[in-house]
Symmetry: C2
Subunit: 339 residues, 2 copies
DNA sequence: TTGTACGCGTTATCAA
DNA sequence: TTGATAACGCGTACAA
C-alpha cells in the first residue's frame, strides 16, 4: 500500500500538497500540481490508511452495533430473522453514508465496552439489551448513541430511541382475536421485560376492556435455553387446549408452536388460532400463512443508523422519541368463532 | 481514554515499562513496578488504542468478510438464512480468537478492495462470489485468504477453500428421488455457475446413470430480481405439472415453490415431490417438513474462520482443499411412487 | 531494571 | 503556492 509520503517523494512535492489535493483543498494548490498529483493518485490506486487517519483526527468512521447475546440460547442472534432484518437495514444506511459497521456481540457487557473504546467507535447502535445494560454502556461511552426498543426510563429522556408501539400492537392483535369471538386467549413469550412487557400490557388492556378475566395461567413462558426449548414447547403445547387462541410475541415462536401442535394433530386455525408479531419471512412462508402484527424491521434499522449518523455530524433529530406503528396483517391462522 | 504516556507520567515510570507490563514482558521489570502498574491499569480501565497499535505493528486484528451482493435481489444477503448461519459461525470463531469482524458487502468489487486495503485487514473470508471476482480480489490483496464454495480453478490450486461436495449432494438427492420411482425430475436454481453448476452436474449424473433423458426444459431457471421473482415463480409453477419431482438448489426456493403450488391447490408430496438443499430453519419449520440435503453452514463458517486465523498466525492447514460431505435428511415432501 | 527516541501514515499548523 | 514540522498513541531497538 503506497503512502502519501512515498507519493510526495516520487512526485517531488511535499506531503502537505498531496494531502491537500486528496482533500480537495484546491484553493491552495496550483492547477498544474493538482493535475499531476491527481493523475498519480489514480495510477497507483492510492487508499488512505484509516488507522493513521483515526489517530490524527480522532475519528474512526466505525459505527458499533451492540448485541447482547445469551450463551445458552438455542439459536444465535445472527440467525434470528428479526435481528437480521434490522441489521440489514443498518448495514445499508451505514455503507451509504461512508461509514463502516462493526458488530459487537457478546454476553459480557464489560467486554463490549472495552472493545468499543479500543476501536474509538464514532457512534453506537444499541439493541437487544436488557435495560440496565444500556445504562452501563452510557456510563462509559460518551459519544452519540441511538437505542432501539428500549423502555428504560433513565435512557429515554436522555437518548434517542427508535421504538415501536408494542403496547398498541399487542392490543390491536388481541382486540382482533376478541372481535373474532375468542375469549380464552393465551400470551406466549420467553420473557416479561422491555418490549415483551409492553406487549403484555397491551394484551392485558384488550382483555380488560372486553371484560375478560386474566389469570397467570394465561402467560405461557417459554424457556429458550438450548436444552430446554423442546421440552418447553411440548409443555406449552399441552397447556394450549385450555385456550382458543394464542398471541405469540414473535413470528418464530408462533410458527414453532404451530408446528408442534400440527404434529400432534391439532389443527390451526380450526382447533386453535394463532397470532404472531413481526411479520417476517418465516410467517409469510408458513402454511397456513400467519396472521401477525407487521413491523418493518429493516426500515427501522435503517432509520436508527441514519439518525445516529446525523447525530455524529451534529444534526439533532426532530424528536428524540420515534415510535413507529405496527399494523395487523390478517392471513390464515385465526378462526372467526362468531359473525 | 487514558494513554500509556499519561499512565507513565502519573506513575513516574517510562512508557516502555508500562508497555512491558501490559504485554507481560515481566522478565525485565521489577516485581514492585509490575504490581504498581498493573493495579493502576485496572483502576483506570486502560484499553489500548487499536489504531495506534495497528500503525505501529502493521496489523489490524480485523478479519474481513466479503459478500458480493446484487442490488436487484429481492432479499438482502443478510436476510438469507444460509448466509446468516455461515456468518454466525464465522463471528463466533473470530471473536473467540480475539479478532474483529468487518463485513464488506457491496456489488462493486473495486469498492470492496479499496475498503479492505484502507483498513489493512489481516485476512479475508470470501464467499458468495462469482468466480472471477475472487481472482480480482487476490490480485490486489496479498495476505491470507480463505475461500468458501469456490470452484474457480485458478483459485483452487493457490488458496484454501472450504467447500462442500455439491455434486455428490445433488447426485444423492436425485438418486433418492429416482429410487422413490420418480423419473420426471426438474432442477430449480437461479443460476448455473459455481456451486449450482456442480449441483446441476450431480443431478445430470444421477439421471444419466438411471437412463433418464435430460432436456433443457428440465432446468427451471428462477429470476430473483425484486420485480421478477413473483412472476418467475408463477411461471415455474405452471411448468411443474410436467414433472413428478423438483430438486431445488436451496431450502428457501423449495419452500417458496411449495407455497405457490399449495396455494394453487397442488399438494406436496401427493401431487408433486420436492427436495431442497441446505437444511436450515426454513425447511425444518415448514409443514410438510422439507426433505433436503443437510449441510452445516454454521460449522463450515466457523471452520473457515479458524483456518484463516491459523493462516494469519503462520499455521498451514493440513489440506488446502477441505470438502465437507452433505447428507440427505428425509422428511415429508417426497412421495414414494413405487415400492 | 528502566528510559529515550524513533517510526508507523495521516492531518494540521505555521512559516517560507 | 508550497514545504517543514509536530502531533496522534503505541511498540521496540538500543542506550543507560
Amino acid at each position: 500500500m503506497i503512502t502519501i509520503k512515498e507519493i510526495a517523494r516520487q512526485l517531488e512535492v511535499s506531503t502537505t500538497t498531496v494531502s491537500n489535493v486528496i482533500h480537495g483543498k484546491t484553493k491552495e494548490v496550483s492547477p498544474d500540481t493538482i493535475q499531476k498529483v491527481q493523475k498519480f493518485l489514480e495510477e497507483v490506486e492510492y487508499v488512505p490508511n484509516i488507522s493513521a487517519r483515526n489517530l490524527a483526527q480522532n475519528e474512526s468512521k466505525i459505527i458499533g452495533i451492540v448485541l447482547k447475546s445469551r450463551q445458552d440460547r438455542y439459536i444465535s442472534l445472527l440467525q434470528d430473522p428479526f435481528v437480521c432484518e434490522m441489521l440489514s437495514g443498518m448495514e445499508n444506511a451505514i455503507r451509504e453514508a461512508g461509514y463502516f459497521m462493526m458488530i459487537y456481540m457478546s454476553d459480557d457487557i464489560a467486554e463490549i465496552i472495552s472493545h468499543i473504546s479500543t476501536w474509538n467507535v464514532d457512534g453506537l447502535l444499541l439493541f437487544c439489551m436488557l435495560d440496565d445494560d444500556g445504562i452501563r454502556v452510557t456510563e462509559k461511552y460518551h459519544k452519540p448513541i441511538v437505542f432501539m426498543d428500549t423502555y428504560a426510563e433513565d435512557v429515554l429522556h436522555k437518548y434517542v430511541n427508535i421504538g415501536l408501539d408494542d403496547e398498541k400492537g399487542a392490543y390491536d392483535a388481541v382486540r382482533y382475536l376478541i372481535e373474532c369471538g375468542h375469549r380464552k386467549i393465551a400470551f406466549l413469550s420467553d420473557n416479561n421485560i422491555g418490549v415483551d412487557q409492553q406487549r403484555f400490557r397491551g394484551y392485558r388492556r384488550a382483555l380488560k376492556e372486553a371484560g375478560i378475566e386474566y389469570s397467570d395461567k394465561n402467560f405461557l413462558m417459554l424457556h429458550t435455553e438450548t436444552e430446554e426449548i423442546d421440552r418447553s414447547f411440548q409443555r406449552i403445547a399441552r397447556k394450549v387446549s385450555a385456550f382458543t387462541a394464542v398471541f405469540c410475541c414473535s413470528d418464530l415462536f408462533a410458527i414453532q408452536l404451530m408446528n408442534i401442535l400440527q404434529d400432534q394433530g391439532i389443527r390451526v386455525p380450526d382447533d386453535i388460532s394463532i397470532v404472531g408479531f413481526d411479520d417476517n419471512l418465516y410467517g409469510r412462508l408458513h402454511r397456513p400463512a400467519l396472521t401477525t402484527m407487521h413491523q418493518d424491521a429493516e426500515h427501522r434499522g435503517r432509520m436508527a443508523a441514519r439518525t445516529l449518523i446525523d447525530l455524529i455530524k451534529g444534526i439533532q433529530p426532530e424528536s428524540t422519541q420515534i415510535v413507529m406503528k405496527p399494523h395487523l396483517v390478517i392471513r390464515d391462522t385465526v378462526k372467526r368463532l362468531k359473525e
